[in-house]
Assembly symmetry: C5
Amino acid sequence: MSKRVKLKKPRLPKLPKLKRAHKKILNDIPGTLTYTGYKDQKHVTVELIDYSPENHKYEVFQDVSNAFNKQIPGDISWINVNGLSDIEQIEKLGQHYNLHPLILEDIVDTNQRPKIDEYPDYLFIVFKMLYYNEEGVFMNEHISLVVGENYLITFQEADGDVFDSLRQRIANAKGRVRNAGSDYLMFAIMDAVVDHYFTLIEAMSDRIEDLEDVLFSNTADQDITQDIQELKREVLRLRKAVFPFREVVNRLEKIDSNLIDEKTISYIRDLYDHVTQVTDSIDIYREMTWGLMDMYMTTISNKMNEVMKVLTIMASIFIPLTFMAGIYGMNFEYIPELQMQYGYFYLWGAMILVFLGLLYYFKRKKWL
Amino acid sequence: MSKRVKLKKPRLPKLPKLKRAHKKILNDIPGTLTYTGYKDQKHVTVELIDYSPENHKYEVFQDVSNAFNKQIPGDISWINVNGLSDIEQIEKLGQHYNLHPLILEDIVDTNQRPKIDEYPDYLFIVFKMLYYNEEGVFMNEHISLVVGENYLITFQEADGDVFDSLRQRIANAKGRVRNAGSDYLMFAIMDAVVDHYFTLIEAMSDRIEDLEDVLFSNTADQDITQDIQELKREVLRLRKAVFPFREVVNRLEKIDSNLIDEKTISYIRDLYDHVTQVTDSIDIYREMTWGLMDMYMTTISNKMNEVMKVLTIMASIFIPLTFMAGIYGMNFEYIPELQMQYGYFYLWGAMILVFLGLLYYFKRKKWL
Amino acid sequence: MSKRVKLKKPRLPKLPKLKRAHKKILNDIPGTLTYTGYKDQKHVTVELIDYSPENHKYEVFQDVSNAFNKQIPGDISWINVNGLSDIEQIEKLGQHYNLHPLILEDIVDTNQRPKIDEYPDYLFIVFKMLYYNEEGVFMNEHISLVVGENYLITFQEADGDVFDSLRQRIANAKGRVRNAGSDYLMFAIMDAVVDHYFTLIEAMSDRIEDLEDVLFSNTADQDITQDIQELKREVLRLRKAVFPFREVVNRLEKIDSNLIDEKTISYIRDLYDHVTQVTDSIDIYREMTWGLMDMYMTTISNKMNEVMKVLTIMASIFIPLTFMAGIYGMNFEYIPELQMQYGYFYLWGAMILVFLGLLYYFKRKKWL
Amino acid sequence: MSKRVKLKKPRLPKLPKLKRAHKKILNDIPGTLTYTGYKDQKHVTVELIDYSPENHKYEVFQDVSNAFNKQIPGDISWINVNGLSDIEQIEKLGQHYNLHPLILEDIVDTNQRPKIDEYPDYLFIVFKMLYYNEEGVFMNEHISLVVGENYLITFQEADGDVFDSLRQRIANAKGRVRNAGSDYLMFAIMDAVVDHYFTLIEAMSDRIEDLEDVLFSNTADQDITQDIQELKREVLRLRKAVFPFREVVNRLEKIDSNLIDEKTISYIRDLYDHVTQVTDSIDIYREMTWGLMDMYMTTISNKMNEVMKVLTIMASIFIPLTFMAGIYGMNFEYIPELQMQYGYFYLWGAMILVFLGLLYYFKRKKWL
Amino acid sequence: MSKRVKLKKPRLPKLPKLKRAHKKILNDIPGTLTYTGYKDQKHVTVELIDYSPENHKYEVFQDVSNAFNKQIPGDISWINVNGLSDIEQIEKLGQHYNLHPLILEDIVDTNQRPKIDEYPDYLFIVFKMLYYNEEGVFMNEHISLVVGENYLITFQEADGDVFDSLRQRIANAKGRVRNAGSDYLMFAIMDAVVDHYFTLIEAMSDRIEDLEDVLFSNTADQDITQDIQELKREVLRLRKAVFPFREVVNRLEKIDSNLIDEKTISYIRDLYDHVTQVTDSIDIYREMTWGLMDMYMTTISNKMNEVMKVLTIMASIFIPLTFMAGIYGMNFEYIPELQMQYGYFYLWGAMILVFLGLLYYFKRKKWL
């Protein structure tokens, strides 16, 4: 009865369970760095992208301190740190850029919800990168971003991200990015993340339609409760990641900071429109998903109705006929009909009449 | 069991699926123009309506640059661009009117939600034109509007729109439009769009009533789950198009811009009232639609109840009678009743008594 | 199965279907007068009530221009226009009092939601008059009100309203009304309307209780889905009429206008309290109405449970007994029990034991 | 089937139906006094409690004017009026204290929702006293309060209230009350009312738990739909009384009036916390109550499942066996099994095998 | 049928019932101290932790007055009072620190919801400590906190809390705490409390997953209504404790007080992020819990469907066959088939055909 649905399209891989590593941090001092993610990438990779309208440099290191020395004064430096488990590296970076201890704590706390913190010399932004990697596996990655006067640092849990196209645009000097400041780079990174939210939205839409098709096809007897429940859970998780991020972008648009150029504000406003499209869609898919359960319930009831009708028709027709046969199976000494020459055939006639009468009755009730 | 409902009125054509063409734009530079609509109208048609209280001119071109030369200084120029797939034409227009690159991106991004952006020299407004075209097909079209000092540009996905009556009023100098500025023209365009929202609202109301009729008629055995689900989906899509548009109109009413004349504000306030009527109705239809599912559920249960009653009555009457007949079909050597002369008739009497007793019982329970 | 409920109290007459006459107005110029109501009262009746603390005059005309001439300078004039289909008359009035074209449009657009517009010389208020007329028919009438320095104009769709008691108070100089200005008259009119909202609230409360009685009585087999759905629809319509009206009263309380006397504000605040009582009640009745559907569902399920129990008991008792009888109806050459002298009576004993055992089982399960 | 639940704890007496006496007041002049309550206490009792840190006097009169003369200048006077049906008395009081006519109207309108009105010389507060009287009957009483410089007037519908402990504290000079002004007395009165809200909250909690016990006990076959519906109705009524009262207290805390001493503000803030506790609880009980209906629904379905299983098991076992017996009851001339010597016993063996096989099948399905 | 679920993980112990001890306090004077908790810890334990960057002292007393004398001027003193039933001790403390009577009342009123009160010399904060104690029992404890210039007092209902790690950090001078003021200590205490909220959130998540597993496993026939209802109740209680606490932290972040150092604000903002994560999760678990009921309902219906199918198949197959056998059990004098030599075998053939036909029919309907 409860074979799982065979969806036509590949099923979205299950989101890994997100749990704060409380056993580890319950007794921690506030400001202590404890990596709470589930990706145990041991080594840290540090990318340095250093660019100005004229120059462009791309290097990869195993240690953050190398990155500091290679920066060219006057250029914009994007330092991308992949891997959060080597606390020492992150502390070194924190010291060099004078980051507040709570920022460092948030960088490695993968359960930190999206937020923005303003500091005099830099902005600190946390959000979630949701995307499918190249093997089609769904990735939910904690990502932090510090943007200062002419540098921008991103922290990711592991190698692999959604910024390859941005890296190419910087390398090839396509678009505004090489001519703009670190604030525009910040926008470009967040824009890439939001663009990938749309792919999730589409996957969700596809899955809802697949489940509706299963419900409407009405032939198979599949239990899709579990599929619906999983979908619900994912819609709620997506909400949890995207709604606070919308607030971050909204605040970014209204922020009063020297770090954000007047011209970039238009781009951030545009980004806000895009995130709002995502949240609008999430809310629609949420209502649709909740509605699926009701639909499934009516589908079950409809099926039960059909089962009941078959039973009722079969029983209502043959039980009376069996009774009639039973009458003439009795052994009374004197049953006049039994002696009639064509009694047996008369009875058959009567039975056929009853049969047709009941058929007509069910036909009129539209049960047949 | 699951024949689809035959609604008496023509079914509202299905809304085409709206998907952002992400494959295309995922790696795009922000500010890049990529048409994301599903209407591949290759050629661009440019209408120029140039008018003043005294003059009126109407011309159609294949190239936007023609339109620039034909404008008469001092007149109001309405440039209507049909077709968004020829990016070059739109960029040419953008250069001539000095439009921000993000505006151009939004003009061709058909998934852009309704919004208003204020720029020093012009206002940029995005909304959705929802209407039935002349063949009765439902159209959902992305429409953008730029309004400046004495010009107004509209961008549509394809030929055919809801502005024919407005064009005639301009041509025939009926109403205020020829004597007012570009701000009043903007109002008139939005008013025409909102007037067509009402027709959708009515179609929705009709469909809800049709479904209710099916539910109440109670005769046919139709599965209307799918119809209800489609209706839900459309209510949600309508909400998604109209609610942000209400915010746009609200902000337009409160805007502090030289472009909007004091007198036009009254008209915009009136427009706001109309949009609010639409949103009020959408919310009512939304509740009604959600309620339909519950109603359908009770209808199914009521039917099952009826089926069960028939089964119960038939089985409860004939199973005991069959048992009585079975007793006297036994072959015991000594069954005293069998030897009684009128035993058979006494038994018939007893059976009729049991039959009447059960009938009376079911009658009293109101099951008959 | 689906006989409709016979409610003990008279059923609230169905609200007439409200539809905007779009075919007519779709291509209209904004500011064009088009009557959209469903009451085709051809003639217009104009009442003039002219009063001061000392004087009182009451006259009825067929033409508005007569009313202008009969006004006594220094008095308060209440001009009540019944019938909106004669556009000319309304335009004449608009010209005399210098009303904005959009006001005139709203006066005849019966779908206009309740609102208040402030103009330098007058206030314009739209609301809905909901009441039972003398034949007990439910009336939903669009009513507009223009209040100026010493005049007040009301527009109704047809003759007959809820202001008779107010007319008498003016005639008999009862209460404050003769000694107060046009602002107090405005309050008195709105107060009379709100007082009649309460009668609707009570009718709704009665109907909910009737439906609950039907549900709890549990005897009859009535389908009340349709009644509940109608109730839902009416609660939603009432909401749609009253909630925006509350906003109107709220704004009136806070308005900064010479037209509203300081003393009248207390009365308006009191009116606001009353409207809020109505909206509170509507929300309660809304929740109760939605809850009715769930209750009905459990009632159906309870009934099905009862049906199933009867079937189960009858079948579970007589099917085994029939089997026992069947055994001894077999024609095997050697069935030892058949030769026993009291075999038949032993079998009866066994059958009675089985019968009692099953009875006891069902009794213990509380199914009997 | 639908015996009502016998709750272990005494059932909360039904709230009396609250209806505005509209027939009476529909045509009234605003500001007219019409008592709308259901308690026809004919006589009015007037209590005067006059106190200062040193003095204390308690007297009861039948006429308000007596109370005026007995007040001691400089003392705080608490005038408590029991009974609202003698309009004359209330008007006399209104004249003496110069109360606005609308206040007098609200005092006798028992449907007035909780509110606060600020006047230059006094505050006017309306709220609801909800409590069990000494016979355990639930009381819902309209109570109004006017607090001025050194007097406080309360209006109640009938004798009997929740202020006895407060009267004793005044008499015995316990607590702050004798040393504080009329504002503290106002607080003390409202505090006593809120303390009694808690008893209702507890009664509600008990009833929900009783209903849950009935649902979980699962033995009895009681119809608790009606109980749940009544509970819903009461939760909604409690909400209607308490939520606006919270707004009253909130506004009182922020009011800018000479009448409220700085020190009393702390007490009012504390009162606000208490009312918020009540509203928090009401919202929790509301969700729990709504959830009861779903629980009841699953309980019914679970029971039906059980009924169905019994039927299915009995029918599925005995119908095939009866068929087997039927086979050998046939009268064909040549049925080889019938001539076998132990045919009857072989058949019994086969039947027992079928019986055990089906038992095993149902066991494996966990239906037994 | 209704065996309770055996959850794999240990069931969260039931939250003790929270009731205000109204009988006791109903007639109390506001400002009277009445302990309303359910923990009758008779003795009071007073801990004094006195520290400065250089010094650290830890002492335990049975009387608060001892603690006053042992404080070292210039140090930060944390006085932790365990046990609220000895009113005298708390009043002594209140006198020494000049606490407002209403604060003392709130300290011992365990039903007081989380709140913050600002006084000139100190802040007063109430919240709830929710945690598992060492025996794995769930604890819900009322906790109050007074923070002044260089002292901080906490009040708990009983010994045992979540602050051991904080005590050790103070003792060992780990982290900022020894070098910071009483405001940072306040933050550290609240942070410890919030960290334990996360453990509850996780326990809730585990229980929801356990219930889902029970629902999806589909094998056992357990009644989980009660489990779901308990879960609902706990989610609502958790909400009640955590949501007002979030408001407290929010207000603390924005407070304008000399007591809170600029640097501590960053930590409080971080705390606010954490509480918001908890409230986000509570809302998600709330929706999931409510959804469980729907899922359970579909599971029940699915099971009933299965039961019905078995019944329908068995009855539909064997009732017609029994009828056929019944026919040839009749005793008519002339039934031609009976005389046929292979009549019996022909009949068997016909029966097998009917049997296979019905099997095929049910197979095609996917009921088998």
